[in-house]
């Protein structure tokens, strides 16, 4: 249940989709002139409850795909709709429904964790009261209670990753895009991250990139494989041998 009420540009709007529509729908995305890897004719749909593992080799286009889906990049052609809002025609409404954690968490090293989460809640359109409520919840959810008063620059990589995840989730987005979320986490933290992803995946749609196959097997109910900028496989995942699926997809 996303909270989007305070931003004047979003207030009082009803999403133009019914409950059966996909939370995220990308059609024919092409991007050839990006600084990173390109993407060709990429189409993808995410429904509520989908937890999609986006697999691919280094440079396959995973991060570029996620940046296209969150609106940080504009495709040469193709479209992205989030909860029915087009990223091209209604970018603010669409982006308000996305939570994005890049591979390098976008953290201000001179801010305290609680200050930072307040800022990210406010710029995602939550009012003061909602931000305070959600900040408390997300600090609890991401197990940041012990470090909420600390300066971000002094945190370990694992905590920084969790603060990054918290900023992506604070506004209860419909779609959560995570780029290598397990980066820098120790085994115990990875287990916590899996549990968190499983929890939020019940109400939201999640897509996360990784090149760790065991991350996908432990968490996902769907797997998408990208190779040389093309989505070569997109299928439900029911616990089959992923190594074979992956090798077939990139062959």
């Amino acid at each position: 249940m996303a909270l989007h009420t305070s931003d004047s540009e979003q207030a009082g709007e009803t999403p133009p989709t019914d409950s059966g529509s996909p939370l995220l729908e990308a059609r024919g995305l092409n991007l050839q002139h990006a600084g990173g890897a390109g993407v060709s004719d990429l189409s993808l749909q995410l429904q509520r409850g989908d937890i999609v593992g986006l697999l691919g080799l280094n440079g396959a286009g995973k991060s570029t795909t996620l940046r296209l889906l969150c609106g940080a990049l504009v495709p040469d052609s193709g479209s992205v709709h989030v909860s029915g809002y087009s990223l091209a025609d209604a970018p603010l409404q669409a982006r308000a429904r996305i939570g994005y954690l890049p591979d390098q968490p976008p953290l201000y090293n001179d801010m305290r964790v609680s200050e930072y989460l307040t800022l990210t809640g406010r710029i995602r359109g939550l009012d003061r009261q909602q931000t305070a409520i959600r900040r408390t919840q997300i600090i609890d959810q991401c197990d940041l209670g012990d470090v909420q008063g600390k300066i971000i620059g002094t945190l370990s990589k694992g905590f920084r990753q969790r603060v990054g995840l918290a900023q992506a989730l604070i506004h209860e987005p419909a779609v959560v895009l995570l780029d290598e979320p397990a980066n820098g986490l120790d085994p115990q933290q990875m287990e916590g991250m899996r549990q968190l992803i499983a929890d939020i995946g019940k109400e939201q749609a999640i897509i996360f990139s990784t090149h760790l196959l065991n991350e996908v097997t432990a968490t996902c109910n769907r797997v998408a494989i990208i190779h040389a900028g093309r989505l070569t496989s997109d299928r439900p995942y029911h616990g089959e041998e992923l190594e074979t699926v992956f090798q077939e997809a990139i062959a």
Binding site: Q10, G35, G71, D110, T120, Q167
Partner: protein
């Protein structure tokens, strides 16, 4: 949204040790320049009183104390603005804004206001130093206000210039050098334009030309328009630059 971003930007500046050092040096410069010019005024006061239109303390100090400070603000404003975007690019925190429901217009205006308000505190300090003389002698408040408006407009234009160059690169040093070079040229155009007739038109693009009247109590529409247009030009260019970052795919 603009106020949230402005607050964040202002607080970021105030968290920086460099900014406090610059502000302390600036306050020292104000004090030194003020006392020096006050001493000069006291030494020539008797001679000034013999003129047909004797210049009072405010008129004297406006030209001898406040007008040179405009050059200091021209140098300081880009220093305050240089990190606004280039640091976001370098530290990869810009992804937060790219994926948030924040338009390029809101982001640019928010960051500009954050920087400008901190600079404005310094302008107020410089003016207050002279205004405090009211305790001892009658001050020509309209003239002082005119000088304050001139300093503020000049500072706003220079801050907008610094903000634009900051949006062009991830290297703060390059941003500051480029903006200072442009502003220096703009100052020099006044000297070049006062020479031969074909070059006189260049003086119209000089900061110095349009600033001088404010310190003599002449608030002219064309001078106000020059600084407002210069500010809007650089803010507009910054907005275009931020939009193009989504197209070009790098930050």
């Amino acid at each position: 949204m603009i106020s949230i971003i402005a607050r964040h930007e202002g607080l970021s500046l105030l968290r920086s040790m460099q900014v406090w050092i610059i502000m302390a040096l600036l306050a020292g410069l104000f004090g030194f320049q003020f006392l020096k010019q006050l001493e000069v005024f006291l030494s020539v006061q008797a001679r000034l009183a013999l003129q047909d239109h004797p210049v009072g303390l405010t008129g004297f100090m406006s030209v001898r104390y406040l007008e040179p400070l405009a050059l200091a603000f021209t140098l300081i404003a880009p220093l305050f603005a240089m990190r606004s975007f280039s640091d976001e690019f370098r530290l990869q925190t810009y992804a937060l804004w790219q994926s948030s429901p924040v338009s390029a217009v809101s982001l640019t205006l928010g960051k500009f206001l954050g920087v400008f308000l901190i600079l404005l505190l310094n302008v107020v300090l410089a003016i207050a130093l002279l205004g405090a003389m009211q305790l001892l002698i009658a001050i020509d408040w309209p003239l002082l206000l005119s000088a304050g408006v001139g300093l503020s407009l000049c500072t706003a234009a220079c801050a907008a210039c610094g903000l634009y160059f900051s949006s062009l690169t991830r290297h703060s040093l390059i941003a500051i050098m480029a903006s200072l070079a442009l502003l220096f040229i703009s100052w020099m155009l006044g000297s070049i334009g006062s020479g031969a007739l074909p070059l006189q038109g260049l003086a119209e693009f000089s900061i110095a030309t349009h600033l001088h009247g404010f310190f003599q109590g002449y608030v002219q529409t064309r001078d106000i328009a020059f600084f407002v247009l210069m500010t809007l030009l650089f803010l507009g260019l910054t907005i275009i630059r931020l939009d193009s970052l989504r197209q070009k795919g790098h930050s």
